[in-house]
């Protein structure tokens, strides 16, 4: 009897021993920087000849941030941009995935082609989009000029600039969503389609009642990944507009970057980063909770 706890304990010790290196790495590269930056966000630090000096522990960074119109504008832009691009990408991604699923020949080739935008480094593709959108020699500007008397200065007017950026984002990440959704589609057993057919369901009905519910888990994964990425959007505005015109395309990440690396305001930069991290974490948790209950209901429904 007395052997059992000691055996468990010994096993536990061995377990800890083996995981220790991994834990140290995780602590060093993830937990430490996160905690460090959260701590910095509550301080007023100054750089001195002796290094970083904490002047005082304060909430001033957060109060200044919350009171700042720049932060609120960046928040509205980032949230709106995330919602719209992720929604469009999800719809387009599912459409592309369904198409690929039905394709008998050349699926591999098409898939590879589709993945090219996704595999491109964003800074490079953003530069290319920048040429297309350029107000003096850009192809898109020229194309719009064929239909409009006075084509808009795409990256110099708020609404067109945001749209242009969203298009570049959707172009790049729709294939990513499509590939994840395709993986889910392939796993739907043929019997379900047959059963739907026997029940007399049409194509649309089958899609809504059979395919979409089955896709829920993969859609959750795709949306989560995309929300995380879209919320931290930095490279597109950095290359295309630098946050302009005015502050129309200034994302939270750009704001944090400017505070930290242009203004050398460490506390403020850390505060913006921490707030952004909390916001995206909160959104993801809420989303997961909402969707998990949905998945459970669907599961119960089908077994009942």
């Amino acid at each position: 009897m007395s052997d059992v706890p000691s055996l468990t304990r010994r096993r536990a010790r061995t377990g800890w021993l083996f995981t220790l290196p991994a834990l140290v790495v995780v602590a060093a590269v993830t937990i430490f920087p996160v905690v460090y930056s959260i701590a910095i966000s509550f301080t007023q630090v100054s750089l001195t000849y002796d290094g970083l000096r904490v002047e005082e522990w304060t909430l001033a960074n957060y109060t200044t941030m919350l009171a700042s119109s720049a932060w609120r504008e960046a928040l509205v832009f980032t949230v709106g941009y995330t919602l719209v691009t992720v929604a469009v990408e999800l719809v387009l991604g599912i459409a592309v995935a369904v198409l690929l699923d039905r394709l008998e020949v050349g699926r591999g080739w098409l898939l590879a082609l589709l993945l090219i935008p996704w595999s491109m480094i964003t800074v490079v593709s953003a530069q290319l989009w920048g040429y297309l959108y350029n107000a003096t020699y850009g192809a898109v500007t020229w194309g719009l000029g064929l239909f409009l008397d006075e084509p808009p200065v795409i990256l110099g007017t708020p609404a067109p600039a945001i749209t242009a950026m969203a298009v570049a984002d959707i172009w790049k990440t729709t294939p990513f969503v499509a590939v994840i959704v395709l993986a889910g589609l392939v796993r739907i057993p043929a019997e379900r389609y047959e059963a739907a057919e026997v029940d007399g369901a049409g194509a649309w009905r089958t899609f809504v009642s059979v395919v979409l519910p089955a896709l829920r888990p993969v859609m959750v994964v795709a949306v989560l990944f995309r929300v995380l990425q879209a919320f931290g959007i930095f490279d597109l505005p950095f290359v295309l507009t630098q946050g302009g015109p005015g502050t129309a395309t200034q994302s939270l990440a750009m704001l944090g970057y400017k505070a930290l690396f242009q203004d050398l305001n460490m506390g403020m930069g850390a505060a913006v980063a921490t707030a952004t991290g909390l916001l995206v974490l909160g959104c993801c948790l809420l989303f997961l909770r909402a969707f998990r209950s949905h998945v459970d209901e669907a599961g119960e429904g089908s077994t009942a």
Partner: protein
């Protein structure tokens, strides 16, 4: 086995706080200025953070300077560390390195907009005590002003940059027009050429949301007789008639079609492209652009003239050009501050500045060389005209200059895109700059 989240987090928190506390425990304290003032007798090596600077025959100016320095101080070796090409990236790399106490680079090239911010954050060695306050008299006042913060000076001048007005000589000749002496004349001349269909745009400049727009605004405000901050960089002075006149002029340029609406997206390269591509009659840009418009493959080579920028009719200021350029800072943590100061100083003084004028298109910083016979005889007009430009400093004396600049360029950009009236934009820019000066801006 259970991995307790709490213990992991606890350990992480402990580490983070310990590191934060430990940061204050660097070595040294205030830098040893007496040591920095002394040129070492023994062997020493200093690393110079700098970018390649092309000479007229394709060599690197840095090599010429290092060789010349070596013949004076054979015991000091200077090696170069290549800086990133983008100014902002150079700043973030340098500030993180120096702030963490790195001894390398021993001296670094930095933008003339940096000194106040770098001084405030203890990233540069104070120099007044090292070279004596009188040392700076040999340089243009506005340049020395830009290099200072509070009661000290934090960088050695290296080369200047300043803005000019480039114009298409052939187009003005064709329409019998003189080189405009004022902005009003320029508008009329531009419209004449545009109406005849000889050029799509009248005047192009830099209007995107970035530092370049601040430089343009600083010039136009100076043309109208105003300034953005007071001399010490502590109070907003932008506004009133001068601010209104400058911003109204900018808005009208776009509204009247003299300047394309796309100017709100233009940086240096875009505006130069428009001019070199033959689309614009006038271009406001930095001195180095002369080399671009006169390059062998430039479609407008040989048909371009350059003058100091004009002024407004009835206003006192004309020939204003924003002060740009680069200077050499000494790393306060350098192990060889004496040798680093010796080299930075050498680059600022006559021998090096003359080498610069003879071999490159970079504008010298030393007043005597700028106004000297060698510069005046230079085949490069931007060098020959260097001393005629009235240098307009940007309000860089504030350690919060980046936020000040951001408040200004963001609002003026909205005026260019038609999103705000000059009055509204001025009001918001003033408020934004005031917040920035108090350190309350984001």
């Amino acid at each position: 086995m259970s991995l307790r989240r709490r213990s992991l987090l606890g350990a992480g928190t402990g580490l983070g706080l310990a590191a934060l506390a430990g940061c204050g425990a660097g070595s040294g304290g205030a830098p040893d200025l007496a040591r920095a003032a002394e040129v070492p007798r023994g062997e020493a090596t200093v690393r110079w953070w700098s970018f390649p600077m092309a000479t007229n025959d394709g060599d690197d100016l840095r090599r010429l300077l290092i060789e010349a320095f070596r013949s004076r101080h054979p015991n000091i070796t200077v090696t170069t560390v290549d800086a990133p090409a983008v100014t902002d990236i150079s700043r973030s790399v340098l500030s993180t390195a120096v702030a963490s106490g790195a001894a390398s680079p021993d001296l670094y090239m930095g933008d003339v907009a940096w000194p106040a911010q770098f001084a405030h954050n203890a990233l540069a060695l104070p120099l007044d005590e090292v070279v004596g306050e009188d040392y700076w008299r040999a340089y243009p006042e506005s340049l020395v002003h830009a290099l200072g913060y509070r009661d000290d000076t934090y960088a050695f001048p290296f080369f200047a940059d300043q803005a000019y007005l480039f114009y298409r000589r052939d187009l003005l000749d064709r329409h019998g027009l003189d080189v405009p002496a004022s902005w009003e004349e320029l508008t009329v001349a531009a419209r004449t050429v545009q109406r005849a269909g000889d050029a799509e745009y009248g005047l192009v400049f830099q209007g995107a949301v970035y530092e370049g727009l601040t430089a343009n605004v600083a010039e136009f405000v100076a043309d109208a007789g105003g300034e953005i901050l007071n001399a010490e960089g502590t109070r907003v002075t932008l506004g009133g008639r001068s601010g209104e006149r400058a911003l109204t002029f900018l808005r009208d340029l776009v509204a009247d079609g003299v300047t394309p609406r796309a100017v709100g997206t233009f940086r240096e390269q875009d505006s130069t492209d428009a001019f070199v591509g033959g689309r614009a009659v006038f271009l406001r840009n930095w001195a180095y652009v002369w080399g671009v418009v006169e390059a062998p493959d430039s479609p407008v080579a040989g048909r371009v003239g350059v003058v100091p920028r004009p002024g407004f009719e009835g206003a006192a200021g004309s020939g204003n050009g924003c002060l740009g350029g680069w200077c050499n800072f000494v790393n306060p943590h350098s192990e060889n501050p004496g040798a680093a100061v010796a080299f930075a100083r050498f680059c600022a003084e006559e021998e090096a500045q003359v080498i610069m004028v003879r071999n490159t298109a970079y504008l010298p910083a030393l007043s005597a060389v700028r106004a000297g016979a060698e510069a005046r005889r230079s085949p490069t007009p931007v060098t020959a005209l260097a001393d005629e430009v009235r240098l307009v400093p940007r309000p860089t004396r504030s350690p919060h200059y980046p936020q000040v600049s951001k408040a200004l360029y963001t609002e003026v950009n909205t005026v260019l895109s038609g999103g705000a009236s000059p009055t509204e934009a001025l009001e918001r820019a003033r408020a934004g700059i005031a917040d920035a000066l108090e350190g309350n801006a984001l």
